[in-house]
């Protein structure tokens, strides 16, 4: 029987790792979290697929369509709130580079306030629509509109809780490996929300307003 192929000489081969090789804890954590985020993005892709199927004329069943109730400049204000929040978080991460605790806290706090502003504008918008009688139960098309935008808002809500938790951890624990790892994963989460929002804003709000 032919021995298994290997270019290593068995007489001199190392059989055990002598170097106590350490795994990079932070990179392992960010990779896993990025994979989770991609599966989260797939969740949005599926919602977009559903939205596309349910945004035909007949999907609104003669009822209101996004062209009737979307206010582009209002939602543009939301967009700016979210983008600025992401920018503030980015500046916070830049402060982390220099171990500037105050800078990180300021960045997180600004990101939180702007994120909360985004959420408040969204809730106000939804409440306004409800007062006009436009809700998830209006028609298939409006169901798709409301669920897609509110799933994004739910992500923002959980992101805000997470930002608060991280502020507390930075203050109480300082920059430990775990805290830094979490700040990096939260950065990816928060930035991904901005990326998803570009799609939501352009293809749900603006395109809905056009058609």
């Amino acid at each position: 029987m032919r021995p298994p192929a290997s270019d290593v000489d068995p007489k001199t081969a190392e059989l055990w790792d002598r170097h106590q090789h350490q795994h990079d804890v932070i990179s392992t954590r960010t990779l896993g979290y990025f994979l989770y985020l991609l599966s989260d993005a797939m969740l949005f892709a599926t919602l977009f697929a559903a939205y596309g199927v349910l945004s035909y004329q007949h999907s609104y069943f003669g009822g209101p369509t996004p062209a009737d109730f979307v206010k582009p400049w209002y939602t543009f204000a939301q967009t700016m709130a979210l983008f600025l929040s992401v920018l503030a978080y980015g500046f916070g991460m830049n402060a982390l580079k220099n171990k500037n605790k105050g800078g990180v806290i300021n960045g997180l706090l600004s990101a939180f306030i702007l994120g909360a502003l985004f959420l408040a504008l969204d809730i106000h918008d939804m409440a306004h629509l409800a007062s006009l009688g436009v809700s998830v139960a209006t028609s298939g098309g409006v169901s798709a509109f409301v669920v897609l935008t509110q799933v994004h808002a739910t992500h923002i809500f959980f992101g805000l809780i997470w930002i608060l938790v991280m502020m507390a951890q930075v203050m109480t624990k300082g920059f430990t490996t775990e805290v830094v790892g979490r700040l990096l994963t939260l950065r990816m989460f928060w930035h991904l929300q901005a990326i998803i929002w570009v799609f939501v804003y352009v293809f749900v709000y603006l395109w809905g307003y056009m058609s």
Binding site: M42, A49, P72, T79, G90, L96, K97, L192, V198, L206
Partner: protein, 121 residues
């Protein structure tokens, strides 16, 4: 390879942040969203052309954000993130594209819709 025991703030994924990068990502996507919003509200273009333009705005804004905010590039510390993203992209397109295609065909065969060629009797 022992970042676990070093100062975590020296980790390359922390060190790759730059204010300039974040600001550029923010500025590019904000300007593009402003342009898209302006074009849509001013009704200055035919719908199909407008759709193409705002789609292009969205695409560039996404690329800028992925590059400047998520730091997805081919450097050693981001390569697996980049590989994962590249593997996922076609699946996003397949999920959305094939679904839209099959239902547009289904509606074509089963629904009577304005603006569509009449069914063959």
């Amino acid at each position: 390879m022992s970042h676990g025991h070093d100062d975590p703030t020296l980790h390359p994924e922390v060190q790759m942040s730059t204010s300039r990068g974040y600001f550029l990502g923010f500025a590019i996507s904000s300007v593009l969203m402003l342009v898209a919003t302006f074009l849509v509200t001013s009704h200055s273009m035919p719908p199909f052309g407008l759709l193409m333009v705002i789609s292009a705005c969205a695409a560039i804004a996404i690329i800028a954000q992925i590059y400047f905010l998520l730091h997805i590039d081919t450097s050693e510390h981001n390569i697996w993130n980049a590989v994962a993203l590249v593997l996922f992209m076609p699946l996003f397109l397949i999920t959305i594209g094939l679904t839209w295609w099959m239902f547009s065909q289904l509606y074509l065969h089963t629904m009577i819709m304005p603006g569509m060629p009449a069914m063959v009797h």
